[in-house]
């Protein structure tokens, strides 16, 4: 996708999101789209690690949950579970993000020397440990979780404000990640992704780059976790169990795990299916009830993996390419320019097309 087209689409999507409360129903904005944007934000941390760091992480929902649990522990005042510290909501945010980033740095450092399936398994282990930790240790939660957590007073009675904050933070994250991957750190990270041995021999600290990337992704997941508990009012270990952990990865895969935009697109498809599938005409008669949601999503993922390994964004790109071809524009395909953008240090397209992560699919 060339850059102008990509920017145009991004601006158009943001414009729609911004204007949505003016014409969308309250439920659609405050529930469906707010959840979409929050999950998209969390999934973008997976996409960032996968697309630019070559690390497919299953620990992002854990970090998302840690931030939520920390907010719950910090602001909670009553109930049978949690620390019930009764702190100011904004202090709680700082506390939650600090803890999340610290945990992300620790987990990132522990897993920085692994790659591929080993990294995946290690982060899955983190997720399982996190689930049982918060389930078993009632000092922080217990299986019942922490409920009755209110967003800061500024949001009280104004859920649309929370929606806007989610949108703004998503835009900031998206733009920030695109800038980051073009920075020297981002370029080095992509070098680490493509050939860690060569990068090490060139003097780059591979483990440190991976750790920093994991920590940064943890921060993004933590921000999403804070927004989530403000939006949902509660969090429990089930929120970060294996099912939802895989769901977040599925969201990234549906959208396209090698495209940042895919995180939000995947979240949109996931949340829409989750909320509206049961309302489809005749859905009941063919067994499409809420209880079958996971089956439907599983089939969707299977289809996407077979037809478009780089997700729905990949489908859109192919349509765009085909349309360009039909118009007889000729020249380089739209993907090439942006790929060069990512793959070359100076951010400009030059030279013949080189294979990049977007051309190789999501498995690295």
């Amino acid at each position: 996708m060339n850059r102008s087209w990509r920017d145009l689409v991004a601006v158009a999507v943001v414009a729609i999101l911004v204007l949505l409360p003016l014409f969308g129903s309250a439920f659609f904005v405050e529930f469906v789209m707010t959840r979409t944007v929050i999950l998209g934000l969390a999934a973008s941390s997976i996409v960032f690690l996968s697309a630019y760091g070559g690390m497919v992480s299953l620990a992002q929902l854990l970090l998302f949950g840690i931030a939520g649990f920390m907010v719950g522990n910090a602001v909670g005042e009553a109930g049978s579970k949690g620390l019930k510290l009764g702190w100011n909501a904004w202090v709680a945010v700082v506390f939650a993000l600090a803890v999340t980033v610290a945990v992300a740095a620790l987990l990132g450092a522990l897993s920085a020397r692994t790659a591929g399936i080993y990294f995946l398994m290690l982060t899955l282990t983190y997720a399982v440990i996190g689930y049982y930790f918060f389930g078993q240790v009632t000092t922080f939660s217990g299986f019942g979780g922490i409920t009755g957590i209110d967003a800061p007073p500024w949001f009280e009675g104004h859920p649309v404000r929370l929606y806007y904050v989610c949108v703004v933070l998503s835009v900031v994250t998206y733009v920030g990640l695109r800038l980051l991957v073009r920075s020297p750190f981002g370029m080095a990270l992509q070098g680490v992704r493509d050939d860690p041995v060569r990068m090490a021999s060139l003097g780059f600290n591979v483990a440190l780059h991976r750790t920093l990337a994991f920590t940064f992704a943890g921060f993004i997941a933590g921000v999403a976790g804070v927004l989530n508990i403000w939006w949902n009012g509660q969090i429990d270990p089930t929120s970060i169990s294996i099912g939802p952990t895989l769901d977040l990865l599925i969201i990234a895969v549906i959208g396209g795990i090698v495209h940042l935009e895919g995180a939000w697109l995947g979240a949109f498809v996931y949340v829409m299916a989750n909320n509206y599938m049961r309302n489809l005409p005749f859905a009941d008669t063919i067994g499409l009830t809420e209880a079958r949601f996971n089956t439907v999503v599983g089939l969707l993922v299977l289809l996407i993996m077979l037809l478009s390994p780089d997700g729905l964004v990949g489908v859109i790109l192919r349509i765009r390419t085909a349309a360009t071809g039909l118009r007889g524009d000729g020249g380089s395909t739209s993907d090439d320019a942006s790929d060069h953008q990512i793959a070359t240090a100076d951010g400009g397209p030059k030279g013949p097309p080189v294979p990049t992560h977007t051309r190789e699919g999501s498995i690295r």
Binding site: D7, V11, V18, E30, D150, V160, N275, T289
Partner: protein, 535 residues
């Protein structure tokens, strides 16, 4: 090159500026939206044409408005909105009420989905003349219910999985998407705490608990629009510890309980009751809800020769599995060395054999089959007349007579909730004005007349109930294991005779502690012989 860079920068600036402008514009719109819409609309609409609107408004408003109103206004204008809205509804005639049910289609209690929806449906059939949409499945809902002049419209059936996370998504869909004005449910403990907290943020909706038994839901959360016409897990075990200590000779007990709010509450009732009269709880083990392999948890329990008895609070799909793990680890069951809460049923004998006979069982919302009154018989007959068959969770999911589903506490709890709503609506003439003020006042003060006994509510809108103790015994004639009621304990309140209060820590793994205390029913339970209370 330079030109291209300049163009790129220009494009970025334009994109950023456009975005910021749009954000600014929409944020402005948001403020207008939140400030004007709810305040403006209700003020305009109801006043001019209060009598014309009812037919149209209820149908339109819930669909469009509820999502706006509750979300935007609840904190700011609770007093205004309700006062306006009802203006077009109170006249009951021709009005409508959107009802949502929070059921349980997955998780440890997922098998009871049919039962609980059947409970509410039966109440609507009896009081509102509703017709069920299918005679073989309650999940198809009902139509044509009219109570106190209000058409009761079932807008949705939420599908919980016994977790707070899921039930919040479901209740939000019912209230914010479907516009439910009254919600009946949920079923499980942690869910009810989450929904009660949600209720606080949605004062325009009335919630009636289905059959969730966590103490914290009403005692600590205390949402003014959340009602519970049954007891909690602790109340259902009142009198059990007293009987075990004084009649079965238990002096020490070990507890194994699901590690969540209902498990803790249920265990709390037993601990308070057993320790009150001098018993000692020597071990507490808490497997997570939904555990399938209980062997490691059973191993943590003392051996049968080290303790007088075991109290089991392992519910749903876990009861059988946990007891089987016990048999594997500790040897055959000795019935009277075991006691359980409501999940100890004669059905356990099919997997465990008759050794389970002799076990003691705490009470629940409905009475065991050995007590029959004309009201109970009429109630069960009414269920059988409404559906041909139901795949009741109470029957292990097997298709059978509907009365099986309604005769068990899950279905009955939801039935009682539906009856409470109907009874209160009739009493106030369908008046939903002022955030259902009259309806809530009526529910808070009325005596609910339901087949298994009357229920009144305490100051936290929680049921004061009669509970009972059963024992699993071998039937003389059939040789099968059946439940026999051995005692009744009337007037059990949520404070458990002063043991619990909003200021005491909610039940958890360590609370309450085991100490002697005076309970009003210790030594005063009413014996039941052959299904007849010996008052």
């Amino acid at each position: 090159m330079i030109k291209s860079q300049t163009r790129r920068r220009l494009r970025k600036v334009v994109a950023a500026a456009t975005t910021l402008t749009l954000i600014a514009a929409a944020c402005g719109g948001d403020d207008d939206d939140t400030a004007d819409e709810p305040a403006g609309e209700p003020a305009d609409e109801p006043a001019p044409e209060p009598s014309d609107e009812p037919a149209d408004e209820p149908a339109d408003e819930p669909a469009d408005e509820p999502a706006d109103e509750p979300a935007d206004e609840p904190a700011d204008e609770p007093a205004d909105e309700p006062a306006d809205e009802p203006a077009d509804e109170p006249a009951a005639e021709g009005g409508s009420l959107k009802l949502g049910i929070l059921g349980e289609c997955e998780g440890a209690f997922g098998g009871f989905h049919e039962d609980v929806v059947a409970g509410v449906s039966l109440a609507m059939v009896e009081d509102g003349g509703a017709t069920v949409n299918s005679t073989t499945s309650a999940l198809d809902g009902f139509t044509g219910a009219n109570v106190a002049g209000l058409d009761i419209e079932l807008v949705g059936i939420g599908c919980g999985d016994d977790t707070a996370d899921r039930i919040i998504q479901e209740v939000r869909a019912l209230v914010e998407q479907q516009g439910a004005e009254v919600v009946i449910g949920p079923l499980s403990g942690d869910e009810s705490i989450a929904v009660a907290n949600y209720a606080k943020d949605h004062p325009e909706v009335t919630f009636i608990d289905g059959i969730a038994g966590a103490q914290e839901t009403t005692m600590q959360v205390q949402a003014p629009n959340y009602f519970r016409f049954h007891g909690d897990g602790a109340q259902w075990n009142a009198g059990l510890g007293d009987i075990l200590y004084n009649e079965a000779g238990w002096e020490t007990a070990a507890i194994i309980a699901d590690d969540y709010s209902f498990g803790w509450t249920s265990a709390a009732g037993f601990i308070a009751d057993f320790c009150a009269v001098g018993g000692d709880v020597v071990s507490r083990v808490f497997p997570p809800l939904g555990t399938t392999d209980y062997s490691s948890f059973v191993q943590q329990l003392p051996d049968p020769d080290e303790v007088d008895g075991y109290f089991w609070v392992v519910g749903g799909t876990g009861t059988n599995a946990a007891l089987e793990a016990f048999v594997n680890a500790k040897g055959d069951l000795t019935g009277d060395q075991h006691a359980g809460n409501l999940f100890f049923s004669p059905a356990l004998a099919s997997a465990l054999g008759p050794d389970i006979a002799g076990a003691y069982v705490g009470g629940f919302a409905s009475l065991p089959a050995d007590i029959q009154t004309p009201e109970i018989e009429a109630y069960l007959a009414s269920a059988d007349a409404t559906w041909e068959t139901l795949a009741a969770g109470a029957a292990g999911g097997e298709v059978g007579p509907p009365s099986v589903a309604l005769g068990f506490g899950f279905g009955y709890g939801y039935y009682a909730a539906g009856k409470a709503l109907n009874q209160a609506l009739e009493a106030v003439g369908g008046d939903l004005s002022d955030n259902h003020a009259a309806l809530r006042e009526e529910m808070s003060t009325m005596t609910l007349d339901v087949p298994y006994g009357e229920v009144t509510l305490d100051e936290n809108r929680h049921g004061i109930i009669t509970t009972y103790v059963q024992q699993l015994v071998l039937d003389d004639e059939s040789g099968e294991v059946v439940a026999e009621t051995i005692a009744l304990v009337p007037g059990v309140d949520q404070s458990f005779g002063g043991t619990f209060s909003p200021d005491t820590p909610p039940p958890d793994r360590d609370n309450p502690s085991c100490e002697t205390r005076d309970l009003p029913w210790s030594g005063n339970a009413i014996p039941v012989v052959d299904g007849v209370p010996q008052e």
